[in-house]
């Protein structure tokens, strides 16, 4: 049989809360150990136990990280979705199933491979049989793909770190299953894992943990948070890392953590911390941003630094709480009533999660405003490759803060909201300093911070705010541009779509369309984004939502002669972006 190496997609169908996550991560990590380029997606339900869950493992020598458009190996463990899981498969798919489910597998056009997983697991531990049964499909997969025993052992050790009993029981189960598969199934798989040279530097990490570490290295002083999927693990990672990395000289922590009563309070605490001169941050998802919106306007108008990470899930309303989307971009950019505009940082990789984690505080204090970090469930809760985080290459930017009388005396005609040097950013003083105290307010105020309803004062204050945020454009992260010499078509995209773009690009290329790409990494968008549009005849804005939110922002802000070049490919079904969905749509809109 001709083998296909390192190019396959495994789909594991199980029920939530049955311990399958450990088994899935062992497959993922054992492939990773062999140097096989691999990615995993957890499609889980909004439920603690019982509802169906799928885990997709994609191996690709070409580095594709999107979930594959087809499944090559299907593992069926969940009776509730059994029929549907089987019915959806293409002919030729390998099916691994638990014989103890006692359910039919009527797919003669597929390769069906059964194993009495629960019965075998009972042999090792009657009590743990339900959990251990999952390890038998790991063994089955290990046999089919030829995953090395060392890699399996290392992945099991990593999964059950320090629990010797669990390690030996699970290794025994996997080994029994491998033997069973070899004796009963034989060599039936076209798909095979082949070792690749693996850089010793690389490891897999979830975006949320990368962001958390970025915040820790950004000097976060206060985390306030209210639990919400998919952002909770960001807060919990910060909490986990504080004792290791943020202990003061006396052994006390240098970052306070408050679990707030709701998202409104979480945002208010960030505001209070920023106003008092600290680095405050909260993390949430779309519903939280909706609730925080009133405070977001106060950040903007009173010019208080703060950071909010929005880990997008599928909206509107409660939506699909455990699925992904880029549905909050327009909201974050212009959140709260009246004219507002907020800085939005959009990482596309776990390295950028770390980097923007610390940079967000610098931008917030420099521009004295709220900065959004914009992630999503796919980037935040799935595991991605990095070769290690890079230490901040700049000192902390604490912005224009006057800390003593001497500094105050050096500023001519000081006023809290007076732009003395033309960049739209005024100097501020901190509570407790006794320097030029004012009563901060969300009501209209003049350059000295005094209440005012004067039309000219209001108009000029709003113009200055616009100038201030506009001035951040070319200081914020520039887009990542991959340019083809001959390309007349450009694609603009952002965030976690980075993980599908290579495959989309290849699919387009395969059909004769060569494109340049521009990944936007911040709003307000960098001037290079405008130049990118200028250089191409047609520009497709591709994003994971229904309405084309970045497309809308570009249409609003680009010069009118460029707007007619724009096309929108916006698609969202809650799942991470599959390359073919988007490639097909790119052709559709261009062919019009």
């Amino acid at each position: 049989m001709d083998k296909i190496y390192n190019d396959f997609t495994i789909n594991v169908a199980t029920a939530n809360g049955t311990g399958s996550q450990s088994a899935n991560l062992i497959i993922l990590h054992s492939l990773f150990e062999m140097g096989v380029p691999v990615s995993g997606k957890n499609l889980f339900p909004s439920n603690i136990s019982g509802l169906p869950t799928w885990f997709i493992i994609r191996a690709s020598d070409r580095g594709y990280q999107a979930p594959g458009d087809e499944t090559n190996i299907q593992i069926v463990m969940n009776k509730d979705t059994w029929e549907k899981d089987l019915a959806s498969l293409d002919p030729g798919t390998i099916i691994i199933y638990n014989e103890d489910a006692k359910l039919p597998v009527d797919r003669d056009d597929c390769v069906s491979l059964g194993m009495p997983m629960t019965t075998m697991a009972r042999g090792i531990s009657p009590k743990m049989a339900r959990l251990m049964a999952n390890m038998y499909y790991v063994g089955g997969i290990a046999h089919l793909l030829g995953i090395e025993e060392d890699s399996i052992a290392s992945a099991v050790e990593q999964q059950f770190r320090g629990k010797e009993n669990a390690i030996s029981m699970n290794l025994q189960a996997i080994s029994e299953a491998r033997k069973y598969a070899s004796e009963n199934w034989g060599d039936v798989s076209r798909y095979s894992a082949q070792s690749r040279e693996k850089s010793d530097d690389t490891f897999l990490i979830e975006g949320n943990e990368a962001t958390a570490l970025g915040c820790i290295y950004g000097g976060i002083n206060m985390l306030s948070w209210y639990p919400i999927t998919p952002s909770s693990s960001l807060a919990e990672s910060i909490i986990k890392w504080i004792p290791k990395l943020r202990e003061g000289e006396d052994g006390g922590s240098t970052c306070a953590v408050v679990q707030a009563e709701d998202e409104l309070a979480a945002a208010g605490m960030v505001l209070g911390a920023g106003w008092a001169g600290g680095r405050g941050m909260t993390c949430t998802s779309g519903p939280g941003i909706s609730l925080m919106s009133e405070f977001i306007g106060l950040f903007y108008f009173a010019e208080v630094p703060g950071v909010i990470w929005d880990i997008n899930r599928t909206g509107p309303s409660t939506g699909l709480p455990t699925r992904t989307q880029q549905g909050d971009l327009a909201m974050c950019y212009e959140a709260s009533h009246g004219d507002t505009q907020h800085i939005v940082l959009i990482p596309g990789t776990v390295d950028e999660c770390f980097e923007f984690g610390w940079r967000a505080f610098d931008y917030a204090e420099r521009f004295q405003t709220l900065v959004f970090g914009f992630g999503d469930l796919d980037l935040g809760m799935n595991r991605w490759n990095t070769s290690g985080f890079v230490y901040p290459d700049q000192d902390m930017d604490r912005g224009k803060v006057i800390r003593n009388q001497e500094e105050m005396d050096a500023i001519p005609n000081f006023g809290r909201y007076r732009d003395v040097d033309g960049d739209g950013i005024a100097y501020r003083t901190l509570p407790g300093s006794g320097l030029a105290p004012i009563l901060y307010r969300g009501t209209g105020h003049d350059e000295d911070g005094i209440y005012s309803e004067d039309p000219q004062v209001y108009y000029e204050a709003m113009q200055r705010l616009k100038r201030k945020i506009d001035g951040s454009r070319d200081i914020l992260p520039a887009p990542v541009i991959r340019e083809e010499d001959e390309g007349d078509v450009g694609i603009i995209f952002y965030g976690s779509m980075e993980n599908s773009i290579v495959e989309i690009d290849d699919l387009l290329e395969g059909r004769g369309l060569s494109v340049s790409t521009c990944r936007v990494r911040a709003l307000p968008y960098h001037s290079e984004v405008e130049q990118f549009v200028e250089r191409h005849d047609r520009v497709v804005v591709m994003e994971i939502n229904r309405d084309g939110q970045l497309y809308g922002i570009l249409r609003k802000e680009l010069p009118s002669h460029l707007i007619k070049k724009l096309y929108s490919v916006a698609y969202s079904d809650g799942l991470p972006p599959r390359a073919r969905e988007y490639a097909n749509r790119v052709f559709e809109v261009l062919e019009g």
């Binding site: 990593q158 490891f203 002083n221 003061g248 922590s253 409104l264 208010g268 407790g432």
Partner: protein
């Protein structure tokens, strides 16, 4: 009687200085834009008086408020302190954030009955639950003034404002709620009782933890008619005083203070000051939550307002006490204390790689 003050002669008159050698004018604020005769302006004056008499550094104070008539008042006192007139009902969370990063600030907050008992009741409750180290003054008149006189949630059943029908809904008693939640300092007073309110406010400023003072403050424009339970006349005649309160500052030795003739008890406050409670008729023990609730409910039944120190529990940790924070306020930490070293990041990376 009390020491801690000094005097000096300026050209035309003698000027009194507090323990920091500051004139009272150092604690004043801007001109009020509230209705003439508003109870809130009385309270602003008492805040100025109390902060000055207690000798608190103006720059060490942070004035906090929400939205409403009462929440405008931080502009009218303590001009040398930073302040934040935040959003409606959300002042406690902003105060919490500021307290987390700078626990050395003295927070004096002003809110109203709409701001606290309706839109902000959740944040009020959770600030109490955390024992946030702040003075929380509710200027409570039973109506929304800035939107022209709608009833608020604290107004008594049967009370009637100047225009419209009497209120039919049951009131929220913020003091009873605070006692139930274990608030560590709960007092009620009246904007027209200058001596009582000054002493209670000074005690609240000497307390460490959440000090709630619910101050009945008549709305002269919309609810100062006799049928209003929160009018001047009504409160004056229906004030059920728990005890005579007298504040003795830590810098005024107790031995030099005149001993009252009748029965009294002393309460020791965090900064070493004392609140002396002189018995009026029945003895009230502020350490007894049940007694506090009984006093509130009995007074309410009789259509009266009970005033004084209702409840006091000095032994609870504050919001920042249990967080294991470093001693210095976090805002003062230099970069090398906030950003872990390059070596530590190498170690983090190495640990991930070794997995």
């Amino acid at each position: 009687m009390q020491t801690g003050f000094s005097r000096y002669w300026r050209d035309e008159d003698m000027v009194k200085l507090n323990v920091l050698n500051l004139e009272k004018s150092e604690y004043k604020g801007g001109k009020s834009s509230l209705c003439p005769g508003c109870g809130h302006d009385q309270i602003s004056n008492i805040i100025i008086q109390a902060a000055w008499e207690n000798g608190i550094k103006p720059e060490g104070i942070a004035k906090m408020s929400g939205i409403g008539c009462s929440s405008k008042t931080p502009a009218y006192f303590l001009a040398k302190s930073h302040g934040f007139n935040t959003v409606h009902g959300r002042m406690p969370s902003v105060t919490t954030g500021a307290n987390m990063v700078n626990k050395d600030l003295s927070f004096i907050a002003v809110s109203g009955d709409g701001d606290t008992a309706s839109i902000g009741i959740g944040q009020f409750i959770h600030a109490i639950r955390r024992n946030l180290d702040m003075v929380y003054i509710i200027e409570n008149n039973g109506v929304y003034g800035l939107t022209k006189g709608q009833y608020s949630a604290t107004v008594e059943k049967g009370s009637k404002k100047k225009k419209g029908a009497p209120n039919e809904q049951a009131p929220i008693d913020l003091c009873a709620m605070a006692v139930n939640l274990g608030c560590t300092f709960v007092a009620r007073s009246f904007s027209g009782s200058k001596k009582q309110l000054t002493a209670l406010l000074r005690a609240a400023m000497s307390h460490r933890g959440m000090a709630v003072i619910d101050v009945i403050s008549p709305c002269v424009t919309f609810a100062n008619n006799d049928e209003s339970y929160r009018s001047y006349n009504y409160v004056k005649t229906n004030d059920e005083v728990l005890h005579i309160v007298d504040y003795i500052a830590h810098f005024s030795p107790l031995s030099e203070v005149e001993v009252p003739e009748g029965e009294f008890s002393d309460i020791s406050l965090f900064d070493g000051s004392t609140l002396r409670l002189e018995t009026v008729s029945d003895d009230h023990d502020p350490r007894d939550a049940v007694a506090a609730l009984r006093a509130i409910h009995e007074a309410t039944q009789d259509g009266r307002h009970v005033t004084g120190l209702l409840y006091y529990d000095p032994d609870q940790p504050t919001a920042t006490d249990n967080l294991g924070l470093t001693q210095a306020p976090l805002v003062g930490l230099p970069e090398d204390k906030l950003r872990p070293s390059p070596e530590s990041l190498e170690e983090v990376n190495a640990n991930f790689r070794a997995r």
